[in-house]
Symmetry: C2
Subunit: 195 residues, 2 copies
């Protein structure tokens, strides 16, 4: 099934994957059509046989980024849960991991783009809203028993904000901010865990 893709579909997939990394690394403005096509091993002229516009690519790239990240995140959480971490604690440690600071291009697309989202064209903005809602919904699935579902929004805001501030600060200050945030979240929402 995975290999049952036509030549064109394979190219399409490659372009979207490259773009999904590019927007997380460099932002919406950071990489142009020509660069992405080049990194996908093609020339820029063929772009419009695949997408109606640059914005259409951005939309697909965000979806792809979200899918990839969900897979990585789930894998990381599974590894931690296998070692008796709670689901919430596994999530907090996976999302707010030091490695998420440098590897933005494989990280959460909401954290990578949040302050730019509200300034995009309609289609991109609509997809951005979906990405935010999706992230909040996922966080909701990690809440420990007894925690109000409304807290998912607050926890999402805290994690996204922490990642961005930590990335801006960089170095030790960034890692320290991340550690404080992990501690605070675990303390507050899961004070009796062993983590």
């Amino acid at each position: 099934m995975t290999t049952n893709l036509s030549r064109k579909e394979q190219s399409h997939e490659r372009i979207v994957e490259v773009a999904s990394r590019a927007i997380r690394r460099a932002g919406y403005h950071g990489v142009g059509v020509a660069d992405i096509m080049k990194e996908a091993g093609l020339t820029h002229g063929g772009f419009y046989a695949h997408f109606a516009s640059r914005d259409a690519l951005l939309v697909e790239a965000m979806q792809q980024a979200s899918r990839e990240n969900r897979i990585d995140l789930s894998a990381s959480m599974a590894r931690r849960m296998a070692k008796r971490d709670s689901r919430f604690s596994a999530f907090v440690w996976s999302y707010l991991h030091d490695s998420h600071l440098e590897s933005a291009e494989h990280g959460c697309v909401v954290a990578a783009l949040s302050s730019e989202m509200m300034r995009q064209g309609d289609d991109v903005q609509q997809e951005a809203r979906r990405r935010v809602k999706d992230l909040i919904a996922f966080v909701r699935t990690t809440l420990p028993d007894g925690v109000d579902a409304g807290q998912a929004e607050v926890i999402t805001a805290t994690m996204v904000g922490a990642l961005q501030l930590a990335r801006t600060l960089g170095g030790h200050a960034g890692r320290s901010l991340l550690a404080h945030t992990r501690e605070a979240l675990l303390q507050q929402y899961q004070p009796f865990s062993l983590t």
Copy 2:
């Protein structure tokens, strides 16, 4: 003192003020040299008599934005504290106010730009780090007695993240997220207040 500025200094100030609003409204990439000069009532050619480069303007614009916002924020907090709000509660309500959602151009520069900060040139990034540290330091001054100073980082992350997610979601969903965040912060850090 305020009016003791030379003609050139007045122009300079006007350009920086315009730019400080422009970057918060449209992001670092959002507005160009020519637009800013035009909005300041000048032509683009004169720009380099005022600034060594576009980045140099961005740095000054961030400082100006920070100053303006600090003044507005302090005024808003003072009004609330006059009505017996605690300093922390006054801050939470002022920063996470619904009006801060739409009026990004007069709001917090860190919230307006955070995910773009790490992708700027060295000088801009350095100033961005200062803005983040400054914001955290200010939040620290609002902490209720007995709250650990390290929580300032977490609270800052929560507020910045909440503002961004709320702006992206927009409308009722955005205001609701903001309300949940206010509630959670006040509940957690000031559970015995009357707010």
